[in-house]
Symmetry: C2
């Protein structure tokens, strides 16, 4: 059986080489590829994905899987070997249930959809993206059918990003959360508002970039194992634990965009860089789930990056970069400004209190699209109506509305709710972190983020995808995913800022 | 048979998707990859190459090849279909004759050799590279044996880069050329030398970059189908006719490095961008050979880029970029400076008259290594002796001598002579071009390079790899590869500059 396990490792290593090669092609597409390269890139990615698929479901791999699944039952269930076999099986099942031709069609469709989305967004014209999105919705429905029977048609999509999670569970969590968040937002709206106009002055792009680099370097981003580039939508991707790359975007007229983009992606990247190198070229060399990944990015972006101790350290330095814009803005005013709560149009720029409402809207849309209760062509209207209802704002155009996010063009349906779940997990980890390290805030005041990183590395990062997300959250915090710590965190922080 | 041909196209398309994916990984490795990413990148590229190999020699592909080769004989021999089958067969033979284990060993060896070469070069210590180079020479000899019988052990290596070319042919061409070039260089050495000190002033890197971009934009480089980046060694690579990328390097203290690097690579790129799009995802979507490719880069770098008409147009603009450095240098002085002839140590910086001598030295070494007449350990001594003999210069160390070029560490033996052959072809094309377009120089003076590009596109570029290189040269110029036009070009140009 040891031989068979080694054979599994060998075949899996090749499969994940292909997987990582495809990731490199996708990174390049978003960061570097000239516009006319899209068509051939679609072919190249489709071919790699098809090969990955056929290799995973090859008779040799299938047979190995069958034999090793039984063997895994004899092993310590917490051993790396047992977990590796289990994860390979999960990966195998995801492919075995889906015909390779479907995979090729899907990857070709999303490559074209990405270009269509870019154009539609640039021209603020949803019609230019509509046919591609219709195709993607149709393909995602077809995908779900391969996993029938299911409790809900959305379950197979959700499970792909959040192993073990059910649509009904997320709906239950969101139902509990929504009224509390809405109530908090309303309470804040009745208080005197904070000033953030100084964040919308002209900020030199290069200086913004340089300050962001300083900050994430202090966070511990390893430049020998990564790089930062610009892309229309910030993201993190890795091709091995020693090549984990981030992107950000820079807005000359809005300081938070680039900075918090970098801090956010750095949180993802530290996860990727912290995974046990022994897991390279296996499915374990990944985050436990999208929600757990998001808990790391939100920790570094919000719980740390928008905290007073962080800025007690960094604000004088930021003032040195921008003396004209910030020289007369005191720390307290700055802190309140970057933590302003205000319902707004753009999810990635939403504040901590309204963010989850953006997610809830998207979850609702995705479920309705999958159920067939909502047609793609009616999406802009539906979007704008719900934005008004939930956040009391109305997008003036599609660019600032339904076209703002890249994800659907990538075929990512089933994904958005992990953002909100990540917020919840981040607050659960934060409680535990602060109880384990009582002087954490003092460390931040000194610009020292090493113990934070080590705590997260040893408890979360190093395990990669060894544990299921809910298992991991329970292991580290002692609790299931729970909205209470997040609401408590929000209420404490914003009561102080807004004097509730 | 039409069905079989379509099947061949389908399988070939996938093989070339993998090929292009591997090219993207290599481009990224040289342009973007963080240092610690090297190990996994090696695995990823090796896996792609292995897959490409096994797919090409699969029973299905082999059988198709066998059937279609006979079918090709029935077709018009100049038809795209016949040529496609012929090129697929050539590609197939290159793989089928070589065991996959050899390919894996070779790629592993060159990955290690590259690191060894980098270290050896940095420390200027050939001994640190010697064992790896010995391994590579051994593997290249082994490679040649897979193609036995051959006239000369070097033939299979040369044929890989220059289809149909024989070692004896190249030796004959070089033997005719060498004394004439040496004589010219000696005649120049006896004349008063030209001033080029103004080229070694401090030149702002961004401005160098921007001027280069302006120049290649005028050449017709399509930025929607390409991009330019920095890399230690300038190169061109393409992943389809609509994604052809170039790199350059910038030397703050030497103006020609970046500029002529960009012009050179742009010549390669225009070739790649001009190939018939119908050839995408087939082996025809490539240049006819390395020499024909080099003829295009040398045309744009030297015959156009170092010509007086080019600078009559561009020099006033360059002076605007660098008024301090060039404001008082007149056009004539500048033109002479960038055309200075001086035997030197480094091939990539060699001028038009001495360049081929560097190549001849390398060819001689490669042939001797392959014949076993020269041992790797004796290489530095041999190198230095020949440099003295051919160019009257002696490298002070290995870094500036035998270790200067990356190619051997990449396993590229058989490649160098294509550089010199490219020079010869470029002059042959140049004669024909000027006879077909009498006012070419006037067009350049106006900054108009469209007719040049169209002439090259319709006669060379569009055909891709459809014709064998010597067939193509004969088709366009009416003659075999011939050193006379190059010598005539050199003599005319440099007689004027040096008053011979």
């Amino acid at each position: 059986m040891k031989d068979k396990l080694n054979k599994l490792r060998e075949l899996t290593a090749e499969i994940f080489d292909i997987y990582n090669a495809a990731q490199i092609l996708e990174w390049d597409q978003q960061v570097n590829m000239p516009p006319k390269g899209a068509e051939q890139r679609g072919n190249q990615i489709a071919t790699l994905q098809r090969m990955l698929h056929t290799r995973t479901i090859s008779p040799e791999y299938s047979k190995l899987m069958e034999e090793l699944v039984d063997y895994a039952d004899e092993l310590d269930p917490d051993s790396d070997d047992a977990r590796l076999i289990k994860e390979c099986k999960r990966f195998y099942d995801q492919k075995a249930k889906v015909p390779p031709e479907f995979t090729a069609e899907f990857y070709k469709a999303v490559t074209l959809a990405y270009s269509a989305w870019e154009k539609a967004r640039r021209e603020s014209d949803f019609k230019k993206f509509q046919p591609d999105l219709e195709k993607i919705v149709e393909l995602r429905r077809q995908y779900a059918e391969y996993f029938a029977p299911y409790e809900h048609v959305y379950d197979p999509l959700l499970d792909y990003f959040e192993p073990g999670m059910k649509t009904a569970e997320v709906q239950a969590i969101f139902s509990a959360l929504r009224p509390q968040q809405v109530e908090l937002i309303q309470a804040i709206a009745e208080r005197p508002q904070v000033d953030y106009s100084f964040l919308t002055l002209e900020y030199d792009e290069q200086k913004q970039w340089d300050f962001g680099v300083e900050a994430i370097t202090k966070y511990g981003y390893d430049w020998e194992s990564g790089r930062q580039d610009k892309s229309p939508h910030p993201f993190t991707t890795g091709f091995g634990v020693n090549d984990v790359r981030i992107t950000t975007r820079v807005d000359r007229k809005y300081l938070p965009t680039a900075l918090f983009g970098s801090l956010h992606e750095c949180g993802h990247a530290l996860y990727g860089m912290g995974i046990n190198p022994a897991y390279e070229r296996t499915p374990l060399a990944d985050g436990a789930s999208y929600a757990v990944h998001e808990s790391q990015s939100r920790t570094y972006e919000n719980l740390v990056g928008r905290s007073m101790p962080f800025w007690e350290h960094f604000y004088p330095r930021l003032q040195e970069f921008f003396p004209t814009q910030l020289g007369n803005i005191d720390l307290e005013t700055f802190y309140k400004g970057i933590n302003k709560i205000q319902p707004s149009l753009i999810r990635v720029e939403a504040d901590e209190a309204t963010y989850n409402l953006h997610i809830m809207l998207r979850l609702e849309i995705e479920i309705a699209l999958m159920e067939g209760a909502l047609a793609v062509k009616d999406l802009p209207e539906f979007w704008n109506a719900r934005m008004k209802e939930y956040l009391s704002v109305t997008p003036p155009n599609d660019r600032l509305g339904v076209l703002q996010d890249v994800h659907w063009s990538n075929g990512y349906i089933g994904y958005f709710s992990t953002y909100a779940l990540g917020n919840l997990i981040s607050a659960q980890l934060w409680e535990k972190l602060n109880s384990d390290i009582p002087d954490l805030a003092d460390q931040f005041r000194r610009g020292d983020f090493r113990e934070l990183r080590e705590w997260l590395r040893t408890r979360i990062h190093v395990h990669g995808k060894k544990y299921e997300p809910q298992e991991l959250v329970r292991k580290v915090t002692g609790s299931a995913i729970d909205p209470a710590p997040y609401m408590k965190y929000l209420r404490t922080k914003y009561s102080e800022i807004y004097g509730l």
